[in-house]
């Protein structure tokens, strides 16, 4: 380890170290966790609740749960995955399912049928330039699809972290992610066709 690396290590404790300090009633450690993760957790909550005020409530609940349960984090898996697990629970308590939202059982799971809907075999390239359209399409996906896309593709959790957050095995996570990506592409094409 170089002196510079030691300096960085000293300045930036890991999330797990901060959680241990929170468990020992170190208030500033919670503040540091908040500053590191509020934006990603808020985006995730907003994506899932589709409502800023509810997302802020869920964000507050998440960090209150960190305060309450920090001592139970044993360092198995990443601390970030654990934070997103707490956020999921907070969101589930706060969110209300939209009437008419497609449930996973209402749309096909067949990868090849999904691929055809997503544009496989189409001569024209898909367009993903319109951010508002992307937002609308993501909002129309099922909770399950939106959740896995938010965690992995939007927030950049690893497959291992997302699997741990969703209490899935990695193979199941990848299967869910793959279908969600194809359904997103299919919905983008459908939206383009509707325009």
């Amino acid at each position: 380890m170089t002196v510079d690396e030691l300096h960085v290590t000293t300045l930036e404790p890991t999330d797990a170290a901060l959680l241990a300090r929170v468990a020992a009633s170190d208030g500033p450690a919670l503040g540091e966790l908040v500053r590191r993760h509020w934006a990603g957790l808020f985006r995730f909550a907003r994506r899932m609740t589709r409502d800023d005020a509810t997302a802020e409530d869920a964000l507050q609940d998440t960090f209150l749960a960190v305060l309450q349960h920090a001592a139970t984090f044993r360092g198995e898996g990443s601390a970030r995955a654990w934070l997103y697990t707490l956020a999921r629970h907070a969101i589930q308590r706060r969110a209300r399912r939209r009437v008419g939202e497609p449930s996973p059982s209402e749309v096909t799971d067949d990868v090849e049928l999904l691929g055809a809907s997503a544009g496989f075999g189409c001569a024209d390239a898909a367009t993903f330039e319109d951010r508002e359209e992307i937002e609308r399409v993501l909002d129309r996906l099922s909770d399950e699809d939106r959740e896995v896309l938010a965690l992995v593709d939007a927030e950049g959790l690893s497959i291992e972290e997302a699997a741990r957050s969703l209490t899935l095995g990695e193979a199941a996570l990848k299967s869910r992610l793959h279908r969600a990506r194809l359904r997103f592409m299919a919905a983008m094409r459908a939206m383009g066709g509707d325009a």
């Binding site: 919670l30 509020w38 934006a39 691929g115 496989f120 075999g121 993903f128 992307i134």
Partner: protein, 87 residues
């Protein structure tokens, strides 16, 4: 890798893989979860199959578009959160 046949328009076999098998492996491919031999077979298929090349590019752009949709929220959210937690 396996998947049933005949669901994809214009499906063909290139490099020992069907298009459906390549389609089914795209997330595994992008997450680095495949062994070197399978990656090489997928890459060989894509080089020889314009449909999979085009769809693979769309797939990658879709992932980047979702990533790009994650804009920084307003800093006011942080201010309010810190205020609520301090109570």
């Amino acid at each position: 890798m396996s998947s049933k046949a005949n669901s994809l328009p214009g499906e063909r076999e290139v490099g020992g893989l069907r298009c459906g098998e390549v389609l089914g492996g795209l997330t595994e491919y992008t997450s680095g979860g495949l062994d070197a031999e399978t990656r090489a077979r997928i890459e060989a298929h894509v080089r020889g199959c314009s449909q999979c090349e085009r769809f693979g590019a769309d797939f990658a752009r879709a992932i980047r578009a979702i990533r790009a949709s994650a804009e920084p929220p307003s800093a006011d959210v942080l201010v309010r959160l810190e205020g609520r937690l301090a109570r």
